[in-house]
């Protein structure tokens, strides 16, 4: 636990002194600000469209934050410091996952100012706002997990980034393609889709099943990353 904490602290600090993290955060806030501006212009007093779009922006933003997590360590061979120390692969992966997830969550927390502003101009139903935001944070966790897994596969940060976007886009396209496949395949796609629970959450329906689904998805990606690291560590 202490080792996970050490890695978590180091990674989180790296984000706060990394220019890329600030550029990525700036880009995300700019894009989400544009959407929020549109809500104001159309006098819409609900956040669902903004959260829906933010989910799409995160699709491209998060892999930029995850791409360096393991790939950069492998490229610069700093991974050998971790591999030759008595620290488990689980501690390495979990520490890095939590650090990136914390940074993304903090970035998303800045957007809480939007519903606050909306609430100043009229009656804002806070139920869908809260569940929509929770849904966004959970979706971001899945993206972080996928990006981390991509980073565990290669030793090049750019390839890790592109791979991360590719994997997430693939899941996104699977969601869109469910109408074109047969009924049985559609059920499977529906079942594993990370976007399906979003619809409920954006409408204010927060249930434990969806939360469990997202947490399970994150655990799965963390587990896959641990397995990849094991394959690299001692071969």
């Amino acid at each position: 636990m202490l080792k996970t904490w050490c890695i978590y602290k180091k990674e989180l600090k790296s984000y706060f002194i990394s220019p890329i993290a600030y550029v990525v955060t700036g880009a995300f806030l700019l894009l989400s600000g544009l959407i929020f501006n549109a809500l104001i212009q159309y006098r819409l007093a609900y956040m669902a469209p903004a959260y829906g779009n933010m989910g799409v922006y995160l699709l491209f933003i998060v892999p930029f934050l995850t791409m360096r997590l393991l790939a950069e360590e492998k490229r610069r061979q700093t991974i050998s410091l971790l591999f030759t120390s008595p620290v488990s692969n689980t501690a390495i992966v979990v520490g890095k996952f939590l650090a990136c997830y914390t940074f993304v969550t903090l970035m998303l927390c800045i957007t809480l100012i939007y519903p606050y502003i909306l609430s100043q101009f009229g009656d804002l139903d806070m139920g869908p706002v809260k569940s929509g935001f929770i849904g966004l944070v959970l979706l971001a966790g899945c993206y972080v997990g996928i990006g981390l897994f991509a980073s565990s596969l290669v030793a090049d940060t750019m390839i890790a980034g592109v791979l991360g976007v590719g994997l997430i886009v693939m899941l996104y396209l699977m969601e869109m393609a469910k109408g074109w496949v047969g009924d049985k395949a559609s059920v499977i796609v529906e079942y594993i889709s990370i976007y399906r629970p979003q619809q409920d959450l954006l409408q204010g329906l927060l249930n434990s099943k969806d939360i469990f689904f997202y947490v399970s998805f994150m655990v799965l990606t963390i587990f896959a990353s641990i397995r990849m690291l094991e394959a690299n560590r001692w071969r």
Binding site: L2, K3, W5, C6, I7, K10, K13, S14, I17, S18, R76, Q77, T78, S80, L81, L82, F83, T84, S85, P86, V87, R233, W234, R235
Partner: protein, 323 residues
């Protein structure tokens, strides 16, 4: 899991260590090593000799295809985590995060080796002192010179006071001043009781720094001993000759075979130059020249010296490390 080894008194024993990579490349081929406690031991060899792969297996970065590594009483292959507690590893490339400070690096390493927080500040202070980075402790690594980075890298490998410090080409690419400084740190660590295993392809480094040297080539240990023992094994002094190109001159191999039969010559190695190992004594050198002149061979340049590690390398591998 322990093996109850250490009966021999050796600190680290590698037996039949072999690494075969995908595609059948045999990088390390049945290496046997015995390293004694408190010594500086070098693996000397050219690039591609298998030195790095050997130490990667010892520090648990690579799993041996076959063979064992016993560190004190621990089987490194079977119980890698216990071995990692006792080993400090400093790789060929500097493994530092440019955005972190020297102190932050050491704090991270201290945490990974579960040094209690109450002891960390004192330990970090000691290590920074040792590598002479105390006044730069809170500067980011991006502002460090190459030598400072290497020293910090070394400090990271030392934070948990390892029983065995493994250094892969510790002075590769460093200027002579920094190299001398690193050597001094290594000697200080040895005096403090740390056993040191390093790889190098610098003859001078192996000769001046190390207590014992294993010469490695094509994945195998060719010979092993103290620098003095290895040089003695060459036998006699060395006359190195560059011969005048001449149509009448016999072929080098033929000439070498011819000279080997003479009583004052112990051995002859012919490459682009000719190395003649002679009986020590004042009259051997004139006899060599007379023998050559008698065979119609003219000498362009020559050197006469006691044997060097390069001569040892040449004798045991058939080629020079400088090639």
């Amino acid at each position: 899991m322990t093996t109850g080894n250490s009966v021999s008194g050796d600190f680290l024993v590698a037996s039949g260590l072999t690494k075969v990579f995908d595609g059948g490349i045999r990088a390390v081929d049945g290496v046997d090593l015995q390293i004694r406690s408190g010594e500086i031991f070098a693996l000397l060899g050219p690039n591609g000799a298998g030195k790095t792969t050997t130490i990667r297996m010892i520090v648990t970065l690579a799993r041996p295809t076959s063979g064992t590594v016993i560190l004190e009483d621990i089987d490194v292959v079977k119980v890698p985590d216990s071995a990692r507690e006792r080993i400090g590893y400093v790789g060929q490339e500097v493994a530092l995060d440019r955005s972190l400070t020297a102190r932050e690096h050491l704090e991270l390493q201290a945490g990974l080796y579960h040094i209690p927080p109450s002891m960390q500040a004192e330990r970090i202070g000691e290590i920074l002192d040792l590598v002479e980075l105390t006044d730069r402790a809170d500067d980011q690594v991006r502002t460090f010179s190459g030598g400072m980075k290497k020293r910090l890298d070394l400090a990271c490998g030392l934070i948990h006071r390892p029983r065995l410090l493994v250094l892969d080409e510790p002075t590769l690419g460093l200027d002579i001043q920094t190299r001398t400084r690193i050597w001094q740190f290594i000697r200080t660590l040895r005096e403090q009781g740390t056993t040191i295993l390093l790889t190098t392809h610098y003859l001078e480094e192996a000769d001046q720094l190390c207590d014992r040297i294993a010469i490695m080539d094509h994945g195998k240990i060719q010979t092993c001993g103290t620098p003095a023992e290895l040089k003695t094994s060459v036998g006699g002094d060395v006359v190195t000759l560059t011969l005048v190109e001449d149509d009448a001159r016999p072929e080098l191999e033929q000439l070498a075979a011819d000279l080997r039969g003479l009583p004052f010559i112990r051995d002859v190695v012919a490459t682009d130059r000719m190395l003649i190992y002679i009986e020590p004594g004042q009259d051997s050198v004139p006899k060599v020249f007379k023998s050559l002149t008698d065979r119609g061979v003219h000498v362009d340049r020559f050197t006469y010296s006691p044997p060097s590690l390069d001569d040892v390398f040449l004798k045991f591998t058939g080629h020079s490390l400088r090639d």
